[in-house]
């Protein structure tokens, strides 16, 4: 009841003449409060914890990347909409979300023009050229990153060697690295992968005596032992990885901050648990289960074998971009399937591809491409996972 209505005394109340010209629409006549801008701004809020932690760990460099990226995304959206004569909808917050996500998948020492190019491509080509919000086939932020990686071949963690923003080298984080080391070092995933690659291979060498003794000392007596040694030699404490003190992209390092965001999204019913849980669960399970080939040195003989069930599930979930991808990228509504079954299939596919790329692919990390590939498969998944209509037999 409005204040005015309360103030009016019943005795003095005159019946209001029923107005003609009532609003006439089809039912229903009530709507839920959630609309697009409410959803998008909720996502922005959910991204804030990760934004704060990245500014803490990477300093001004992260803040600059985020600013360039967000401003470019919003400006690009407004410009394209203006040029194509469509309604400018930047206030719905969707371009802010894209801008933030582009920044979050940039290396923390990327020069300013890289997030700019990535954001421009994400909004201008991937989103608006396909028709705007709702019509894009791929997650704009990840497609923007993929484009930037293709344009600037050195776009890997530490690939630019130097920081374009001065960082305070004195500050040390939990892993003992200084801030500049954190920003230019190799990520946990690529360190392990490169280390394993650098070990001697049994099939390439016939005579074990020709190999340096020191190198042989790095091998275990069994492939499993070798793998354990590789893992131990390249280890960031799990707690550091969880809090965010690890080498990585701007917004992906702190699992804690991302999980806080996930709680916000789940509590506000912005996303359902299906994709993130299925994605992370698949990465943990298959990351542990699927075999890798490792060499071993025993009784003067060099040989190699497959190690099953040798992965570290927690490490797999905390390293790289899986957490960011599972919570914020794969759950992008436009590019993920509609039904619950579809979302579960989608999450599983993302996890499977991520693990395959991580273990057997050329890149140390596979979250970006696995999500983009699954985006491509979304219409297919949708058509296979259409719910069974009430009162009909199973399709």
């Amino acid at each position: 009841m409005s204040e005015e209505a309360k103030a009016t005394e019943p005795a003095s109340k005159k019946p209001v003449e029923p107005q003609e010209g009532f609003l006439v629409t089809t039912s229903p006549h009530i709507r839920s409060r959630d609309d697009i801008s409410r959803i998008m701004w909720t996502v922005v809020v959910a991204l804030l914890p990760a934004l704060f932690t990245s500014c803490y760990f990477f300093g001004m460099a992260a803040a600059w990347i985020v600013m360039v990226s967000v401003v470019t995304a919003v400006a690009a959206e407004a410009l394209v909409q203006k040029l194509t004569g469509r309604k400018v909808t930047v206030s719905d917050g969707s371009s802010v979300v894209t801008g933030l996500l582009v920044a979050f998948v940039m290396p923390s020492n990327a020069p300013w023009f890289i997030p700019l190019v990535a954001s421009l491509f994400a909004i201008g080509i991937v989103k608006q050229a396909f028709g705007g919000l709702g019509y894009n086939i791929w997650n704009p932020a990840l497609a923007g990153r993929a484009f930037a990686v293709a344009c600037f071949a050195g776009l890997t963690i530490g690939g630019w060697g130097v920081n374009w923003v001065d960082v305070t080298p004195g500050q040390r984080f939990g892993n003992g690295h200084t801030r500049s080391e954190t920003m230019t070092g190799a990520s946990a995933l690529s360190a392990r992968k490169d280390y394993l690659k650098g070990l001697p291979k049994a099939d390439a060498v016939t005579d074990a005596t020709s190999i340096n003794k020191e190198v042989l000392a790095e091998l275990g007596a069994t492939p499993r032992e070798t793998l354990r040694k590789v893992q131990d030699a390249n280890r960031t404490p799990l707690l550091d990885m969880f809090l965010g003190s690890q080498v990585g992209c701007v917004g992906e390092t702190s699992a804690l901050a991302l999980l806080v965001g996930a709680v916000v999204l789940l509590a506000t019913k912005t996303i359902k648990w299906y994709i993130p849980v299925c994605f992370l669960g698949t990465v943990a399970l298959l990351g542990w289960l699927l075999p890798v080939s490792a060499p071993a040195f025993k009784d003067g003989a060099l040989y190699s074998g497959l190690v099953w069930c040798g992965g570290e599930p927690l490490f797999e979930m905390l390293a790289g971009g899986v957490m960011l991808g599972a919570v914020f990228m794969a759950t992008d509504m436009v590019t993920s399937p509609l039904s619950k079954t579809g979302k579960l299939v989608f999450g599983f596919g993302c996890g499977l591809l991520t693990v395959i790329i991580r273990k057997y692919g050329g890149y140390p990390e596979g979250v970006c491409y696995s999500i983009l590939l699954m985006n491509t498969a979304t219409p297919l998944i949708d058509s296979f996972t259409k719910p069974r209509v009430y009162g009909t037999k199973k399709r």
Binding site: E20, H29, L338, K386
Partner: protein
């Protein structure tokens, strides 16, 4: 609550706003000087006027006769004179032939009506005839003639009769009040309906937001064999025939079918009361309970109104607020928006809902959030249906499950893009019907 309440899959949880009128006992609304009784207040063939201008009528007298089996008669709620038989604005938005009665205020019943009687000895056929002659239709809003539902169909024995006390539409409370005030009559009606169709099982299903109604009904049903009072989860559309049947019995009704296809008959609370009135007191259906509510009126209330009462009279009594800009007959989820208050109460009018500052939403493209898919109790993909209807892809519409949509509105309620999905689906269905008619005409020619 520690146990799982029975329910169905999908659905939504809108704020119910039942506090507005929930605690107001049903009041009898005074008969107005002039009543407008449409010849079409039900699904099926419109009734044929049985009176002409100048005729005198008594209360309860049939003024329009049913035409055919799927039809229902219309009776005069007052004694008086026929002022005219002419088209008047109908809640559906069209103009429909109506019998206009001038009330003489004497309230004289037709001889033989309004007399208390014992109906325990009535045969099944007699019960059906009494219900048919009383012009009873489904009072929940669908207005399907009740005697048709009760008529035996070859090869379809009926095992269960359900009194639908869910009242899942937000705002509406008239059924709730009837459960509180007339629990015994509802149970009596259920027993007689079970007898009419030879069903061994009777159900009374109440949503869990009406615990006091549940308690009353449970007490009333005590000692009645085969009658089970069940509490259901609060969820829209719990009171839809298909959903309540599936919630209670765990079985689905085949696509395109009715509950009777699996041996079930559902009757609304108001219908049960009407059946009791007809059998016990020999009163035809001339009045019904309705709720006037919404943030657009000062005095929300539950009324027992004569059919044909102009909606304007109800609004005058409930006092329309200055910022009320939407008038809906029925509930907010499936009710019909009116362009004028110059319509009259029909057998299907369960509520008069005045909404203040209602918005005409601007809508955008689908963002594929999938909320409509989760909400759809029919497990359709409403987003897809809305897109093919919007883009007029008639071939895709023809191949889709669009005819399984019952327009409950869950999808539209949850849509963050504010897409008018129900509206688009209605359009698609109309286009499909037009196309099919054209094809039929073409086939007939060749």
């Amino acid at each position: 609550m520690d146990y799982m309440l029975k329910t169905f899959k999908g659905g939504i949880h809108p704020h119910d706003h039942k506090d507005l009128a929930g605690d107001k006992p049903i009041e009898r609304f005074p008969a107005p000087p002039e009543l407008v009784l449409y010849v079409s207040q039900h699904i099926g063939a419109p009734a044929a006027p049985a009176v002409k201008k100048g005729d005198a009528v008594k209360k309860g007298q049939m003024i329009a006769e049913p035409r055919g089996f799927v039809s229902a008669g219309v009776h005069s709620p007052v004694s008086g004179a026929i002022k005219a038989v002419e088209p008047r604005p109908h809640p559906l938005g069209t103009r429909v032939n109506a019998v206009i009665i001038e009330n003489d205020g004497n309230d004289e019943w037709l001889d033989g009506l309004n007399q208390e009687r014992d109906f325990s000895g009535m045969s099944a056929a007699r019960i059906r005839d009494e219900i048919r002659d009383a012009g009873i239709v489904g009072l929940g809003g669908a207005t399907f003639p009740t005697h048709v539902k009760l008529s035996p169909m070859e090869g379809k024995p009926i095992s269960d009769v359900v009194i639908n006390c869910a009242e899942c539409e937000p705002y509406l409370t008239c059924d709730y009040r009837q459960m509180i005030e007339r629990a015994d009559d509802i149970v009596a009606a259920l027993e007689v309906l079970m007898k009419a169709v030879g069903a061994p099982n009777g159900w009374i299903a109440v949503e869990s937001n009406k615990p006091d109604a549940y308690a009353r009904l449970l007490a009333a049903a005590g000692g009645h064999e085969g009658v089970c009072v069940e509490m259901l989860e609060v969820k829209y559309p719990q009171g839809a025939e298909h959903q309540i049947t599936t919630a209670l019995l765990g079985r689905e009704i085949p696509s395109g079918g009715l509950p009777i296809d699996i041996g079930v008959i559902c009757q609304n609370t108001g219908t049960a009361v009407a059946v009791y009135e007809a059998l016990r007191f020999n009163r035809p259906l001339i009045e019904r309970a309705l709720t006037v509510t919404g943030d657009g009126v000062e005095n929300p209330a539950n009324y027992l109104v004569p059919l044909g009462l102009p909606v304007r009279a109800i609004l005058d009594r409930a006092v329309l607020r200055g910022n009320a800009n939407k008038l809906v007959l029925g509930g907010p989820m499936m009710g019909l928006a009116q362009y004028t208050a110059d319509v009259a109460v029909t057998k299907g009018t369960s509520g008069v809902l005045a909404l203040a500052d209602a918005e005409a939403y601007e809508w955008t493209t689908c963002i594929r959030c999938g909320r409509c898919v989760d909400a759809c109790p029919w497990r359709l993909v409403p987003s897809y249906l809305s897109i093919i209807c919007e883009t007029k892809r008639i071939d895709a519409i023809r191949d889709s499950d669009i005819m399984d949509c019952k327009e409950c509105g869950c999808c539209t309620y949850v849509c963050p893009s504010r897409r008018p999905i129900v509206h688009l689906v209605k359009y698609g269905k109309a286009e499909l019907a037009r196309l099919r008619a054209e094809e039929k005409a073409k086939q007939a020619k060749t």
